[in-house]
């Protein structure tokens, strides 16, 4: 076995172990920890059954943030593999491949194996990042594509460099902001041949153009239909905060999150010390490949800070942040250990080794504890989604086939009801968003002649509960809608909180109402 194979195997084993810690909390897997994951499954199933890639079987692209991810999942639907087995298996494979690519990137950057291995393990075993592979979302997929594009572009092999354009093209299709990686790669390294120019520029440009034309043709807009709805959901609580303030909040929220769910500590001072150590680690990451990955992560983060300043469910909007942060912390810790070793022990080999092992162990204790937090959070989140959204979906099957049902959450409810649902969160139809902004969703429900309504609620009916969409949608000011409670599916408080803290999943209650209003003309 070559030295490289041994390194690769150790990295692989560490990642598998980290994944197993979280995955074993819900084994065999019984569902997804996020309702949004069911949205992708629903779109995938609709493609197989109705030939349309969308939550609404009649509207292309509706509801799915990442159509290429939903398209990938449709393979699982075609093979009739029960969710979440296919997406979890695929994401595990992508997680392991990403770890291998980062290891290769570090070695190509000139780092010795003794340093490249712990850094790649830190990247690939960052607890938040490992959880993405069980979230059912596209976060692992886009991380893999990002690392693959960078690793290929900075590869010493000229043929491998041509693959960068393919990875970048797939990234553009997975997330609209992914297109920015192309100019970044071209700025960081000028292509050495015409073939490289073509690969890096033309392939992604063709993919983006094709997708845009397809979107424009089928939906009448360039951006995914989910964008406007997501901006309403995440940005309205930030009204009155300027651009800089929103960016500041995003950074500070991430620091809090990195502390608890990556470093395994809620102590602010330890988090700030880690920031200092990570800054020191930046000096280790001096090769062109890792610098490019770092630059891409910063650009990606900046785009979200400006346009949609939130980390999203479980941090999925900026998935490389926790991994790179832990890698930098590890690099900084190793640098500190090296300095101490040289200063204190000179050339004594045994003490040198012991100090390095100590540095790695100290870096691993916190993330190890964070893995356990994710284990608990993941299983709680899966149970919550199963007990509320999925359970409500099953109950909707029993309603008469001719009634019209609307719902704010659409994933589990749409998937398990197996019937058309009018979505009122602005994910499938951007025409809903003005109603959301103006608090007039009641008018929309009347114009759509809705008979039943499913709403996410909080535990109490008091303001300012942000989980209570009865208030958030302005339905408390629409008594003429005649909402009559029919059924409530509720998660127990502690179970809901455990999942919420890690994944920010959804409201604790799903409530079904009968709508007794007179329908009005649209």
């Amino acid at each position: 076995m070559t030295r490289w194979s041994r390194l690769a195997l150790v990295c692989l084993a560490a990642q598998l172990a980290a994944w197993a810690v979280i995955a074993s909390a819900d084994w065999p897997p019984s569902g997804y920890p996020l309702d949004d994951a069911w949205i992708h499954e629903l779109a995938a199933r609709n493609l197989v059954e109705h030939g349309v890639l969308g939550v609404n079987p009649h509207v292309y692209g509706s509801g799915a943030t990442s159509p290429i991810w939903a398209l990938t999942l449709s393979l699982g639907a075609l093979l009739r593999i029960t969710p979440p087995w296919f997406s979890n298996g695929l994401n595990l494979l992508l997680l392991l491949l990403t770890g291998q690519l980062v290891l290769r990137l570090l070695v190509n950057d000139g780092l010795p194996a003794s340093k490249a291995l712990p850094l790649a393990v830190a990247f690939g075993c960052a607890p938040n990042y490992v959880w993405f592979a069980l979230s059912g979302m596209e976060a692992t997929f886009v991380s893999f594509l990002s690392v693959a594009a960078v690793a290929a572009w900075f590869s010493p092999n000229s043929r491998t460099r041509l693959l960068a354009g393919v990875a970048a093209a797939a990234l553009c299709l997975a997330r609209p902001e992914g297109a920015l990686i192309v100019p970044l790669l071209l700025i960081l390294r000028r292509p050495g041949s015409r073939a490289e120019w073509l690969s890096c520029l033309l392939v992604p440009a063709s993919a983006v153009s094709l997708n845009a034309v397809l979107n424009l043709w089928l939906t009448g807009q360039l951006l995914p239909s989910t964008f406007a709805g997501r901006r309403w959901l995440w940005l309205t609580p930030l009204e009155g905060i300027g651009l800089v303030g929103r960016g500041e909040l995003l950074v500070l929220d991430w620091l809090t999150r990195l502390g608890e769910f990556t470093l395994g500590t809620r102590t602010a001072w330890l988090i700030w010390i880690s920031v200092g150590v990570a800054a020191l680690g930046l000096r280790t990451i001096s090769g062109p490949g890792m610098r490019a990955l770092m630059a891409w992560t910063v650009v990606w983060f900046g785009v979200y800070a400006a346009v949609l300043p939130t980390f999203g469910h479980g941090g999925r909007y900026q998935p490389l942040v926790p991994s790179l942060f832990l890698l930098l912390c590890c690099a900084g810790a190793i640098r500190l250990a090296d300095s101490w070793r040289a200063l204190v022990t000179g050339d004594r080999r045994f003490v040198n080794g012991a100090l390095t092992v100590l540095a790695v162990l100290l870096t691993a204790i916190g993330p190890g504890m964070a893995l356990l937090v994710w284990r608990d959070g993941h299983s709680s989140a899966v149970r919550h989604v199963n007990d509320t959204e999925a359970a409500m979906g099953v109950q909707l099957r029993a309603l008469p086939p001719d009634v019209r049902i609307a719902s704010f959450d659409i994933g589990g409810i749409g998937y398990f009801s197996g019937r058309p649902i009018i979505e009122i969160g602005g994910l499938t139809d951007p025409r809903v968003v003005p109603y959301l902004r103006e608090g007039r969703i009641a008018d929309y429900l009347k114009s759509e002649r809705v008979n039943y309504l499913v709403l996410p609620l909080g535990y109490t009916n008091t303001r300012p509960d942000p989980w209570n969409f009865y208030f958030r949608l302005g339905l408390d000011q629409a008594p003429d809608l005649g909402l009559e409670p029919v059924k409530r599916d509720t998660s127990e408080l502690m179970l809901w909180r455990r999942g919420l803290r890690t994944t920010l999943h959804s409201s604790p209650v799903q409530a079904l109402y009968r709508v007794n209003a007179e329908p009005q003309a649209p």
Partner: protein, 193 residues
């Protein structure tokens, strides 16, 4: 151990300055700027609707907070929502007294805000207090339905530890000092340079 590099020396001075200044002000009851801006935006909608109101946040006991809030309400002729880490005080102006009873509103404020005191969550307490005030205006039809306020979470079950946001100033100083210390160590060990 003073670094030789000029930039690192500057970093040492700045880091020490930030850490000292931040630690000195750590006990203050202050809201971080973006969240303060969010709450002021909410109160602005009340002001635009003809209900002048101020949010007073200070590090003080209940007696001092009450006297400060009353003095401010009398001098400015507006409603004052007073908050410290352990106390909440509401002083209504004449217009708001027509909509709500001051004593009843203060009791309700205690009911909603006290869980945040238990966990030392000043930001959560401030958000609840502001929304308690504006919800009266919403219920009276003076304001339209307003979007939720940050922070989004329910009161924490366990004690709210100091977050990086609340310790940003000294925290950045400490991070800078750690970096300078690490680099200085490397200066002394040529193999790392």
């Amino acid at each position: 151990m003073i670094p030789r590099n000029l930039w690192l020396r500057a970093g040492l001075v700045v880091g020490l300055g930030l850490a000292a200044a931040g630690l000195f002000r750590l006990g203050d009851a202050r809201l971080i700027l973006p969240l303060r801006a969010r709450l002021e935006h909410e109160l602005d909608s009340a002001r635009r609707a003809g209900h002048p109101v101020s949010l007073l946040v200070m590090g003080a006991d209940e007696v001092t907070l009450r006297s400060s809030a009353t003095a401010l309400a009398q001098s400015s002729g507006q409603t004052v929502l007073g908050l410290s880490r352990q106390a909440v005080v509401i002083v209504l102006d004449g217009l708001d007294r027509r909509l709500a009873d001051e004593a009843a509103l203060t009791r309700e404020a205690h009911r909603q805000v006290d869980p945040f005191f238990v966990t030392d969550d000043l930001h959560g307490a401030a958000a609840v207090l502001v929304r308690l005030y504006t919800s009266r205006l919403i219920a009276s039809g003076i304001l339209p339905a307003l979007p939720p306020l940050t922070p989004l979470l329910y009161p924490d079950i366990e004690r709210h530890p100091m977050t990086p946001a609340e310790s940003a100033l000294p925290g950045i100083g400490i991070a800078l000092l750690i970096y300078v210390a690490g680099r200085t160590l490397e200066e002394r060990t040529p193999t790392n340079n």
